[in-house]
């Protein structure tokens, strides 16, 4: 009889230990120790980044983008006021041009290096012949210089998809506040879009030093 109660006691003791351990495990899985993945999955409500009031509009010229990203409308850096001789139609019109001004007028400073080998682009594949103040796509639609992503994205559609979402390109100074992203032409020269090679700004010591 006493042996039976002893065994029962042992069994109950073991059971209690298991239950307590389980409770401890659940307690350690409380919100405080949630993994990043869980936290991300639980966060479905869009964050109102305008709440971060210190993210005020920058003194840069921007335009409302003609497309939307996953969070709605956004802005891109303006391009037209960066082009030194805009509007192009000031020169590109029907008026005659003096020969001695030719050097200034021929854009001899532009090195065209866009596209590979036989597919190298020429001026009029992007610039409109009819209206020099606009770009033009293959279907003949006029595209504003401020919205060059509409043209670039015709070929570089993967980059454009990433750019819209935020995996390509970058935001201007702020992660919060109004979404202002750099235009394609803010970083890439449209005539020679590949980044140049250059010397690194500094050097890094090995990790374990």
């Amino acid at each position: 009889m006493s042996k039976v109660s002893y065994v029962t006691g042992l069994f109950l003791g073991a059971l209690a230990t298991v239950v307590m351990m389980n409770q401890a495990a659940t307690a350690s899985g409380s919100p405080g120790s949630e993994s990043v993945k869980d936290k991300i999955e639980h966060a479905t409500e869009p964050f109102d980044s305008m709440k971060v009031t210190t993210a005020y509009p920058l003194p840069v010229k921007t335009v409302e983008a003609r497309e939307q990203y996953q969070g709605g409308g956004f802005k891109v850096l303006a391009r037209k006021d960066q082009i030194t001789r805009f509007r192009c139609s000031v020169c590109h019109n029907d008026k005659p041009v003096k020969v001695q001004n030719g050097v200034l007028f021929t854009h001899s400073d532009i090195q065209l290096n866009h596209g590979l080998g036989r597919n190298m682009l020429t001026c009029n594949e992007c610039h409109s012949i009819q209206d020099r103040d606009f770009l033009v796509d293959k279907e003949g639609r006029k595209i504003d210089f401020d919205h060059s992503y509409q043209l670039c994205g015709k070929c570089h559609f993967r980059q454009k998809r990433d750019w819209l979402g935020g995996a390509h390109g970058k935001r201007e100074t702020y992660w919060a506040g109004e979404r202002v992203v750099r235009n394609c032409t803010s970083c890439h020269s449209p005539h020679s879009p590949a980044f140049p090679t250059k010397m690194p700004a500094t050097y890094s010591l090995p990790l374990d030093e």
Binding site: A43, Q70, G166, A167, H168, Y174, C187, F195, Y203
Partner: protein, 320 residues
Amino acid sequence: MDSSKKKEGRMQTEDMAEKKSSRRDFIKKMSIAAAAGSAGLVVGGCSGTPASEKMGLKWQEYFKKHYRLMTQEEKDATVTRLERLAKLERGIDVQMSDQGPHEQVLFGYAFNISRCKGYMDCVEACVQENNLDRRGKTQYVRIFEMDPGQLDPTAGDGQYHHEVPVKNKFYMGVQCFHCENAPCIKACPTKATWREPDGIVVIDYDWCIGCRYCLAACPYWGRRFNWGDPEVPNEEINLKQHYLGNRMRMKGVMEKCTFCIQRTRQGKLPACADACPTGSRVFGNLLDPDSEIRFVLANKKVFRFKEDLGTDPKFWYFMD
């Protein structure tokens, strides 16, 4: 003598929260009085001189609490003291902040290893922004030139001296990954390092005793130690500082990347992400389903460094 007083102050943190107006308060008051008195003696009996003011401020700094135990008033007071001390000691007008985290914000970072070209503008920007020691060449951010297929930055070369990018190499940046389950926090014997609600792992420099356990615990080499007093020329000091961020560190304390807490809590990108000319660095709020970082996590091939350790870092690598 100073250091022993400092240590004593530190050892009593835990009791402090419970016992208000205790022996500790008494000692504090006494020490401030003593400081004022002794400073007065040193400068020949006249009080109110810069030297005695400096000494008084320093005494009060010795007896302040751990950042997490301070009330908002106490935080503001220590910030004001530190600003005044910077003025007295170096003649610079520091604007120090103790801004807290925003609600519903968890910072995350993604690094594009197929876009980075190894220009190292990020490294330089970080040094400038965070007032890093110029003499010891402290860096939070490091970039390594790697061979294809390699994924261990210890085997990469950070001291390349040629034009970049080089064909058939890729560039990998490492810094503090701000782990959710950070080993460095567990290793700290004085609770001088912790994870803020917005996910940034920070250090209270005044509470660090310099044991470097965290340095040993971090599997990512994310922490730096000040073997000497950090040297930054006065004209290069970034005056916009944060108590937990880029304020001047001292000899014998740990420091590390804080996701530029002084910038990111104001809605700005960290200095490295802002300086990157290639757009390889994506930073944002992980709790916002519309943010750029969430787009990267949802649509790109991502991985985390040494994910199998279970440290749960908030820093992803991705490729196009």
